[in-house]
């Protein structure tokens, strides 16, 4: 059985579950919050582990409402087993161009008065 549960979302990006960590999770907060969300209901428990109750195709078409609740609840109450990667097209290009000007994004500045 695969140790990873992975699926793509509508806006571009993917959600990755490390099921080897989920085995030891007692709360399964991801499933709880997913089923509390109107339009969610992507996750269910199968043999004690998170699994999909919708097809990957329907999830990619918007079946997951991308509330990000699973990742945050897992981080807070579970074992930090979920990673949601949501790329922004051309954002890296922006950061490269910004660097060339000698400027940094505000979140990288240590001295906020500079």
């Amino acid at each position: 059985m695969s140790e990873v549960l992975e699926f793509e979302v509508f806006s571009g990006g993917e959600i990755v579950f490390d099921l080897s960590l989920c085995k030891d999770c007692e709360v399964k907060a991801c499933v709880e919050i997913c089923n509390s969300q109107s339009g969610g209901n992507v996750l269910s428990l199968s043999e004690g582990l998170p699994s999909l109750q919708k097809s990957r195709g329907s999830i990619k078409k918007g079946g997951c409402i991308e509330c990000l609740g699973c990742e945050l609840e897992c981080l807070k109450r579970g074992l930090n087993a979920i990673k949601i990667n949501l790329p922004i097209k051309c954002f890296e290009d922006y950061l490269v161009e910004l660097k060339k000007t000698g400027l940094k994004p505000i979140y990288q500045l240590n001295d906020h008065n500079s």
Binding site: V9, I84, I88, Y107, H112
Partner: protein, 418 residues
């Protein structure tokens, strides 16, 4: 709203058999002479391709009677538009003789939620000065029904002082314009001036803007921007932001840099801050409160219509990647959207941007939530310890825009005093 250049609008007119003057787009002085000779008219008009009105009054439209003159005037116009608007295209067109100018447009009326046809026998410059009651005719179209020539004839017959020949021509034109309006998801299709020439009705100028929520299916129009950003080119950050809504109809994330390099703030002695809002009305009211208090929101951002948290995540990363901001203010209107999702998007972004402080930002931040699930939004912020930072304030439910700005001001003052 994304708007086509005049020459692009005219290409769509031509495709739909609307008469336009023969013309050539040039982007250098070298091409001017050849363009003049190719058109072969005794007189040509040179029109700067910038997305703004009243170009004639600004000297961005010139007439020429010889190739040499065309070259000289091209040089003059190109130098101006490169400097002022970072544009370099000029439409060289056959100059058309005409006696009278008319005006016709179809636009999306948010009040009636219908396309509205507006027509006047007095078009041209300063058409907006006309009296609505006397000089301008307008009527709604039913977007759910087809619009045939006989419908257009019936509608246009209500206009006084139209002879039958002109009535027939106008009705035919109206059907074509409505096809353009529908086919390209427009919110404005305008011809001004519309004149009668030898070939019939001729569109001497055209304006077409497209509903930005429909851009994902209007790729052939070639827009590289997804927001209303005026007449300048979009910044790289705006282009990034434009991709967030691309193909994702769930709510919106409109992001525009008002002062991309922070220079305007510096010149006006204002403090640049990042800004986000749920609802444009709340955004404008808050921005109006910010300026007198000495803060310049250097970006506008509206994330409303119940977007997924992923949109908030992405847009928050963009806002905090601006190098000049000295603080951040987020406000919501009394919103029906799921504000807990809004909060999750912001919190995920902060956790990633500030891993060393576990999401606590390095600039003063006010998060002002009002509306559905705002208590849950607070819980999300509190649970992740974001509100433990002395530089973060979370406001819930009972506040006004002025309260939010005053709270931000106090936070900001304390932060930079420390």
């Amino acid at each position: 709203m994304p708007r086509l250049y005049e020459y692009q609008a005219k290409k769509l007119f031509e495709k739909h058999k609307v008469n336009i003057p023969s013309g050539i787009v040039i982007d250098s002085i070298k091409k001017a002479e050849n363009a003049h000779n190719t058109i072969g008219a005794s007189k040509v008009v040179l029109k700067a391709q910038v997305k703004k009105g009243k170009r004639g009054k600004e000297g961005l439209i010139e007439f020429s009677s010889s190739a040499t003159e065309t070259e000289e005037k091209t040089k003059k116009i190109i130098n101006r538009i490169v400097e002022q608007y970072s544009e370099k295209s000029i439409l060289v067109e056959e100059a058309i003789d005409f006696k009278e100018e008319m005006y016709i447009s179809i636009f999306s009326d948010s009040h009636t939620r219908k396309p509205v046809v507006m027509f006047s026998l007095k078009g041209g410059v300063d058409v907006e000065e006309l009296s609505i009651s006397e000089d301008i005719y307008y009527f709604n179209l039913d977007i759910g029904k087809p619009y045939y020539l006989f419908n257009a004839l019936n509608d246009m017959r209500k206009i006084k002082n139209l002879n039958s020949k002109l009535l027939n021509m106008l009705a035919g034109l109206l059907v074509k314009l409505y096809m353009i309006y529908l086919e390209y998801d427009c919110n404005l299709v305008e011809i001004n001036p519309l004149v009668v020439g030898e070939k019939g009705l001729i569109a001497l100028d055209g304006k077409i803007s497209v509903d930005d929520d429909a851009l994902f299916r209007q790729k052939e129009l070639g827009f590289d921007q997804h927001s209303e950003i005026g007449i300048r080119k979009p910044t790289l950050l705006e282009l990034c932001a434009g991709t967030i809504d691309e193909g994702d109809h769930r709510g919106s994330a409109h992001f525009v840099q008002i002062d991309p390099d922070g220079l305007e703030s510096f010149e006006q002695g204002l403090t640049p801050i990042g800004f986000n809002s749920v609802g444009t009305g709340a955004a404008l009211t808050t921005m109006d409160e910010l300026i007198p208090m000495g803060y310049n929101p250097i970006n506008f951002c509206d994330t409303s219509g119940n977007p997924p948290a992923s949109k908030l995540y992405r847009v928050t990363k963009l806002i905090f990647s601006q190098p000049h901001i000295k603080g951040y203010l987020m406000v919501s209107c009394v919103s029906s959207q799921q504000l807990d999702n809004t909060a999750r998007g912001i919190v995920k972004a902060l956790l990633e941007l500030y891993p060393e402080t576990e999401g606590k930002p390095n600039v003063p931040c006010v998060f002002a939530f009002r509306g559905a699930l705002d208590k849950e939004a607070r819980r999300v912020f509190e649970e992740f310890g974001i509100t433990d930072s002395p530089h973060v304030l979370f406001l819930e439910r009972d506040w006004t825009e002025k309260d939010a700005v005053e709270a931000f001001h106090k936070l900001y003052s304390d932060f930079y005093k420390a």
